[in-house]
Symmetry: C2
DNA sequence: GCGGGAAGTGATAGTAACTCACACATGAGA
DNA sequence: TCTCATGTGTGAGTTACTATCACTTCCCGC
């Protein structure tokens, strides 16, 4: 695990990622070529693609998905699916510190404001949806997700994404957890599972 | 309106689109180059890009959005936002004939199964969300969409998209309206509280 | 009906993301 | 130390997409 080879590889990967993010924030995503990134990181353009299949992939969207799925499975089966996901997200967010949240804000802003990255993210949401749908099924002791589970998962991801957008729009002035709570609350109000107002 | 110039332009646009769709279905999206399409349509690659900014744009996603928005505005203000959108979609679908629906199925299948097109579509959903959010606001006599409207619109689009996925998965065996109704119903009733499938 | 101007088109040349084939070097294991 | 797998660079190529310029064809005011 700690061979020189693997450490070098990890360092190279990190270097590419760090320089890429710095350049993207500095001069914009489209104004930064892969060649620029490679040169800044001290590798050849080839090597860039050995580490990341596409230019978009160099911006990693922190993957809390598996954690979130487990938290969803742990929620009581009687709870409304959207409420379960909302609670799971709240629990996941509680583990994030101020610094981490600030980093997430910067990166989320970059992704949401760059069409190419936004499209990439949308595509990735499909995986999150599937994972969540499976988690909702397992929460009820089912093996496979039903159509209802898929719809609920899709709606939950949509609520989460909208919360992130609102959070970025507000420049992170409110705590992300508050915005997420508001978003899921709004959905649940409409469905009659929560008292209106808030 | 009926100048020779404009008619030719429309014909060229149509020719490019038709040949593109045919080639995509025939040999796949990635296996078809813009040069192939241009040659089949009898124009230069340059001209292709004069008509469509990107290769992805040549696959048009029928734009029912404005119609849908108006139908949403017409729903009673007391109705739940999701129910309002669901009813509006049902009304919009009622105007489609068998043939049109079959075309939508073919095109939707192509889009959902081609990563590049799927990503493009996801990006376009942002516009639909904004339009729907505005419609939900206007339905209540408001001028601007609140956060709640945005979340509801996002959830509605997610439900609609999931319905389309399920519809394609089932190869269009059920009527799209039935699948859409099931999807919105699942969201309104709550997961696991309604028999899935039909 | 005609002549000036605009609009559509093509050829050429270029940028940038990504791929492939091959050769080299260096760290890992015997 | 020797071997070999693995990471890396070089170079050449494909494809989406852009910019410039020149040519043709249609439209419209005279």
């Amino acid at each position: 695990m700690t061979g020189l080879r693997e450490r070098k590889k990890a360092a190279t990967r990190r270097a590419i990622q760090d320089h890429a993010l710095r350049l993207f924030l500095d001069r914009g995503y489209d104004r930064t070529t892969v060649a620029d990134i490679a040169e800044a990181a001290g590798v050849s353009p080839m090597t860039f693609f050995r580490y990341f299949p596409t230019k978009e992939d160099v911006v990693e969207y922190d993957e809390y998905d598996p954690v979130l799925a487990e938290l969803v499975v742990a929620r009581p089966a009687e709870e409304h699916a959207l409420a379960a996901v909302g609670a799971a997200v709240a629990a996941a967010l509680a583990t994030l510190g101020e610094g981490e949240l600030a980093t997430v804000l910067v990166r989320t802003r970059l992704v949401l404001r760059t069409p190419a990255l936004r499209a990439r993210r949308s595509a990735g949401e499909g995986a999150t949806r599937d994972l969540l749908a499976g988690a909702l099924a397992r929460r009820e002791g089912r093996e496979d997700a039903t159509h209802a589970h898929r719809v609920a998962a899709a709606a939950a991801v949509a609520a989460l994404t909208t919360a992130l957008e609102i959070w970025v729009d507000e420049d992170g002035r409110r705590h992300l957890a508050a915005v997420v709570d508001e978003a899921f609350g709004a959905l649940l109000d409409g469905v009659g599972h929560r008292a209106p107002g808030g």
